[in-house]
Subunit: 161 residues, 2 copies
DNA sequence: CCTATTACAGATATATTTTATCCGTAATCA
DNA sequence: TGATTACGGATAAAATATATCTGTAATAGG
């Protein structure tokens, strides 16, 4: 079980887009080159972010993408769910219904006990992601990444925005 | 991103094996029929549980599987990891290394900031699963499942053990 | 000892999902 | 008008999940 690599790409793209001045858009082509990933496929992830209102895409020359709201209003969960979907990682196939001892009428009732436990763990995962905003990420990046790399990257991106 | 259906099967099988008296083994064939799932493929999951020391498999007639330790010593995480593996759901492909502004030498240092956050969420998921034992599951099942279904199921299984 | 039954390991096959790539369209800016 | 961009849909290739099949070794019971 793996998350799509698009999730990683989307997160890094959002991190990068935080550096954009007001009204400036970054083309998918530039984001793809910066991260060394295929442009066409990355575009699908960016479109998913756009459809979920996390980024804004504009057409034409000087078009591209930028964040749709302030970084502190965008959580990791927003981004992950936009790309990966909101469904739980655990699919309950209701195999308890195959128990030869349970009558067919017994359809209703609570969801499966096993599923409830798995879904709760899934919610813990989401809760953890919900608690981290892009602002939090920026703060961590400021600690982790050397200042010159940060500055050079900003310049590189703005040249191409 | 989905967990394997074998995870669901393995959890339900472990739930069922709690009902076994000392020294009694339940064949994969019976577990498969009880849950309405293909025997051959279920066997792979049971073998994974066996390899990880969660169940014990014995050969020959009257052979089969039983839990390797007390139910309160087996967590959901044990079972899930046995079938699904211990690797994080988030694969970091180190795309930060593709940044054209970062020199090649810069290999070392901390793991990627984005990855650390994703791995932390993964750990929250595991922590949640670690906190639920088979005993906890049994308690919940006692509440959720009607007594007669529980009794009939036990009888059905023991007939075939 | 013989036979039926079982777990187990490995090879193979099928289905589904992920990972792309390609193309046409519409919008936008110079 | 022409270059550039996002967007949507179709298609293709690769990886993974979902099985199935085979043979082997161990074991209980006759």
């Amino acid at each position: 079980m793996n998350l799509k690599n698009q999730v990683e790409w989307a997160l890094h793209c959002c991190a990068v887009m935080m550096a954009l001045p007001e009204g400036v858009y970054l083309p998918a082509k530039v984001l793809a080159e910066f991260h060394g990933v295929p442009k066409e496929y990355l575009s699908k992830a960016l479109q998913a972010l756009s459809q979920h209102g996390i980024v804004i895409g504009t057409l034409g020359p000087s078009g591209g993408y930028r964040l749709a709201r302030a970084p502190d209003q965008i959580s990791f969960l927003d981004i992950v769910e936009a790309v990966e979907g909101k469904r739980s990682t655990f699919r309950c196939e209701e195999i308890r219904g195959n128990n030869p001892c349970v009558p067919r009428r017994h359809r209703a009732g609570k969801p499966c006990t096993v599923a409830r436990i798995m879904w709760k763990a899934d919610e813990a995962w989401r809760e953890s992601l919900r608690g981290v905003s892009l602002t939090d990420l920026a703060a961590q990046l400021a600690e982790d990444v050397p200042d010159d790399v940060l500055a050079k990257s900003r310049a590189w991106l703005l040249e191409r925005a």
